[in-house]
């Protein structure tokens, strides 16, 4: 058996010290108080404003006349790098994700494209924006980004078109937009 006299003696001293200061009744009483207190804790008034703010996040990262300044941390902000040419609502804020549509919508197979710079790896990627359709406009995280965006007579680069062509059920109604990557732009 391996000897560890230092550790044993420390534990022994701690146990004797605790025993000399507390009785079993005192320990049980304190334990009961803790359990009851823990049960009452949720009933106490709590400032939940921080959580509400998180749940109802207002649109952030809106582009100004100074131009698009991409970041690579917050996908729900307008200035997230993949959103460089989105004019509409981020599906990430509407029950979907960066690359998935919210429940009950229809995903369009057609898209407009843009080249967006990722400051995280300093690479430029081709993004094919796709609209999720078949429901009323989401309205949350409304972004107006126009990096490389072209007029309607160059439709493949225009974000002003309802890009619901080919969606199931002929749903030509815009709900929100996702930002999937096609690949690195050469």
């Amino acid at each position: 058996m391996k000897e560890n006299k230092g550790f044993d003696s420390t534990i022994e001293k701690l146990a004797r010290s605790t025993a000399s200061k507390t009785g079993r009744r005192g320990f049980i009483g304190k334990l009961g108080g803790f359990i009851v207190g823990a049960g009452l804790l949720p009933l106490l008034p709590v400032d939940r404003r921080g959580r509400m703010k998180e749940a109802n996040a207002t649109t952030t990262g809106t582009m100004g006349r100074e131009g698009f300044q991409p970041q690579d941390q917050d996908t729900q902000a307008c200035d997230y790098w993949r959103h460089c040419s989105i004019d509409g609502n981020l599906c990430d804020c509407c029950g979907g994700t960066l690359t998935s549509c919210p429940p009950g919508t229809e995903l369009s197979p057609s898209s407009w494209v843009a080249s967006c710079y990722n400051p995280g790896d300093q690479q430029t990627y081709l993004i094919a924006y796709r609209d999720c359709c078949g429901k009323q406009t989401c309205g949350r995280c409304n972004c107006l980004n126009t990096e490389g965006e072209l007029p309607v007579y160059r439709p493949e680069f225009s974000n002003d078109i309802v890009w619901c062509f080919g969606a199931d059920n002929d749903a030509m109604t815009y709900h929100c937009t996702i930002s999937p990557v096609v690949g690195k732009a050469s």
Binding site: M63, G64, R65, E66, G67, F68, D87, G88, G134, K135, Q136, T137, G139, N142, L144, T146, E147, G148, E149, L150, P151, V152, Y153, R154, P155, S158, D160, I161, V162, F165, N169, D170, A171, M172, T173, Y174, H175
Partner: protein, 405 residues
């Protein structure tokens, strides 16, 4: 629903309109008796139907003039839209007109009627799509005709020139993008859709007399189209009038009456054309901003960034100091330049974030400016630049401004 009264020619307008409204009144009176949902509930006591000392009436809007303004709030890409009717002289709201998703308004007969092309769905945002054109009397704001069209309207953020009346108000043209590019032809006198006329990859509609119109093609040329009453066309392209990298805004200025097209690029270069039944005459383009101003990053920006006053030959360009690729963001200034030489005449500091402008065509013109962020229409003296008035609480995000010619 289709009613069969229609004011399209000036001579027929009042007679047909009166007949239409009489018919509608009889219909409305009868429906009160027949439809339980709209009738006064029988269980209501006399308090709910007391006779009044006052006499409520339904007003008519005054006759349209050069400063009659219509402002569209499409709510972004919302399923329903609202056109606000405003007396621009007094900055007073006169009434509203409902429309569907991403509608197109066309003002006809010197502003006496509105034609509004709309799209609705049977179950709000899904179900059966229904495209139609309503003709609305500008005084009563009541529909006087309803024309069914194929479900092919090109649905984009609202662009004025994707639908148009012909110059004689006899036809309506509307653009289709999918499944193939085409222009829909509507006969207003017969109140019926005629045909989808196939066209190549061209956009916008600029009508000229003699059943002709022009479109703008992606190669920078114009497509000249003539059509007969059955929708048979003849098409030919003009020369290329702008470069591939001159990106033109989605909402140019165009007059159905004069055929004058003013079309700025996002860099501030002005392209102009005089369009007529004889063809297209392209004017020499010019830059609004000097080299020094360009170095200071002055450039146009907004959704409806250009206006024009015919008699003064002045171009109004919405602009601000901005980085490249911010061309759809708001601006705070209007540069007024000579329509021939491009000389800068004055600069109006509006003091608001403005997305769209339009200029009345009368002798003392007003500059109207819309702010989606403030949901407000501002009015300025177009010559002095003085702010004269504003109308606020215009829905969710008012964008396009329409003025009668």
């Amino acid at each position: 629903m289709t009613t069969k009264q229609r004011p399209l020619k000036n001579g027929q307008y009042k007679t047909r309109l009166a007949a239409s409204l009489t018919f509608a009144a009889v219909l409305a009176g009868g429906s009160h008796l027949a439809l339980a949902g709209g009738a006064v509930p029988t269980q209501l006591g006399t308090e709910a139907t007391l006779e009044l000392m006052d006499t409520p009436v339904i007003l008519d809007a005054p006759d349209s003039d050069a400063k009659r303004v219509y402002v569209l709030d499409a709510g972004g890409f919302h399923m329903t839209s609202t056109y606000y009717t405003i007396d621009g002289n007094e900055s007073k709201l006169l009434g509203m007109t409902d429309a569907g998703k991403l509608p197109h308004m066309m003002l006809g007969d010197n502003g006496k009627f509105m034609a509004i092309a709309s799209t609705m769905y049977s179950r709000v945002a899904r179900g059966t799509r229904d495209d139609y054109i309503e003709i609305i009397d500008a005084k009563t704001h009541k529909p006087i005709a309803d024309i069914d069209i194929p479900e092919g309207r090109f649905l984009t953020q609202v662009i004025q020139r994707l639908a148009s009346l012909s110059t004689d108000d006899r036809h309506i043209l509307f653009q289709q993008f999918s499944p193939s590019p085409a222009v829909g032809l509507v006969d207003l006198e017969k109140e019926s859709f005629v045909k989808m006329m196939p066209i190549p990859d061209c956009y916008h509609l600029f009508p000229v007399p003699d059943q002709k119109f022009f479109m703008h093609c992606r190669d920078g040329s114009m497509l000249e189209v003539s059509y007969d009453d059955e929708g048979n066309t003849q098409q030919t392209n003009t020369k290329v009038f702008h470069g591939e990298n001159d990106f033109l805004f989605n909402n140019p200025y165009y007059s159905n009456k004069t055929g004058h097209l003013v079309w700025p690029s996002t860099a501030g270069r002005i392209f102009q054309a005089k369009l007529s039944e004889s063809g297209a005459e392209f004017l020499e383009p010019f830059d609004v901003f000097t080299a020094e101003q360009k170095a200071d990053k002055w450039a146009p920006g907004g959704w409806q960034p250009v206006g024009y006053h015919k008699d003064r030959n002045e171009i109004y360009l919405l602009a601000d100091q901005r980085e490249k690729w911010t061309h759809k963001l708001t601006s705070r200034y209007v540069f007024v330049v000579d329509g021939t030489t491009g000389e800068q005449l004055r600069r109006i500091d509006m003091g608001h974030e403005i997305n769209g402008i339009a200029v009345s065509q009368d002798a003392e013109p007003y500059l109207f400016a819309s702010s989606p962020g403030a949901q407000t229409l501002y009015t300025f003296d177009a010559v002095s630049g003085e702010e004269l008035g504003q109308v606020d609480e215009l829905g969710r995000a008012p964008v396009l401004i329409y003025l009668p010619e």
